[in-house]
Symmetry: D2
Subunit: 149 residues, 4 copies
């Protein structure tokens, strides 16, 4: 699950719901492990008894979301975005930021996992047209259904 | 310098020109080190006697562009995109691909280096509006001028 | 918990016991996630209901130990040794291999976590003398006591 | 070329000589890019007109050795040791430190490049015996000859 630190209340609610639904399906949730969308998905998954692993950019746990089942302090800075995306069976993106966009791009680049976007930024090619590779979901439930399918 | 393996002839020409101009200004050129835009920028920089370091995704040099002054075989897969971007004083992006987009996003995310785009994909926010952080150049010369400024 | 793929029966037993004892104390166990000592510590920790995260070198889960609670497929090759070591609150090393030695060295290099060794290789300085930084344990119980202290 | 920040005058001299000899043979020198042995090898290689790439642990160039032809600011902390070692055609280790030992171990772990040690620490197996994989050189000249062979 990818998403920005700075997010709207609606994005936070969607992330919490996505976390809860993933945990109910028995999925292990991976996220960046800090605030905003990351903390919300952690909260949601934990409320349903799920397992959440935070893949942190820092080499220590400063600022990590409370409630993470485990934290991997990669110490790799933003290169951890690639590690996070490489480790997932599906990627759900909520909201927009440049860090989040890098995760979306790296996920589509993989080519072998579903990439589902809930709100957030848009990417167009040089002619202003939509690019294949990302599926848009209308809400948390649809996002999880598309990701876990 | 970031850009895709698969590129148009015009993108290749622009990359060659960017490489040449950077070398003429005495800049060390960093790139992903493979084919397409990466090979073209290498060719251009070398033609002007410049230094080009390829930051490779693989742990060996298979497929590396001929002419690289040095190759760093990171063995990190796409996480090398973050290493490449972290090591630059300015980032010029030519053409579009998901890997290239991840580099563009990571570069803007840094917030402390010029990010210049020549052609390629567009990123819009949730309302369909342009986002700050990337400067568009009309041609190779303007791209280099904006990057090195 | 660090250790080689190729290990003796005694090392395997010690690793299983270390895993069990860590889980009983409520510790999350991090390991490299493959066979040998890594699989044994996973088995031990899981037998006591513990949580085990495998920090894999590969970008997929091929060859990962069965029973891992979660796997982080870093795709970074041996650079994952540094990630594993950076993420731990204490490092227990069982048995010897060059990969394991790199983890031992990186752990002492950190300077802020206990590094406990059970059997395995020895490192001497240029005069053939022991170096400070690693504590030797006689058995699994002592290793865990020293690590968790 | 791997070696510690804190080194003796003799190690510094040996590193300078190794750098010079590598440059004379046309080899590109890779090193960790900071002070001590790293700065000395850089100095030696540059004095002979050679190319030196520093693979830095930090995400910026603070503290980088003067004279580097190019710096790769990996921002990966000690995981850059693995990147450095993965990128070399041969590894020469001068002097001892835990970081240096991790590079020695990762280099032998690769199994496909010569690993040559000049002074520094010793690694023994559980029975106190020498391990294969590292060749000891008597001086800088022998080290370079064994590495480049």
């Amino acid at each position: 699950m990818c998403g920005p630190r700075d997010c709207t209340g609606a994005e936070r609610d969607a992330a919490r719901e996505v976390g809860r639904l993933l945990a109910e399906r028995g999925a292990v949730v991976l996220c960046g492990g800090y605030t905003g969308v990351m903390a919300a998905v952690t909260e949601g998954a934990r409320s349903a008894g799920g397992l959440v692993v935070g893949v942190l950019s820092r080499a220590d746990r400063e600022g990590a979301a409370p409630g993470l089942s485990a934290a991997i302090a990669t110490g790799m800075g933003e290169a951890r975005n690639a590690v996070l995306v490489a480790s997932a069976d599906a990627v759900i993106v909520i909201g927009g930021s440049w860090g989040t966009l890098s995760e979306l791009a790296l996920a589509v680049r993989r080519g072998d996992v579903p990439v589902v976007q809930l709100g957030g930024w848009q990417v167009l090619d040089e002619r202003g047209e939509q690019l294949p590779g990302v599926t848009r979901a209308a809400d948390a439930e649809e996002a999880v259904r598309l990701a876990v399918a």
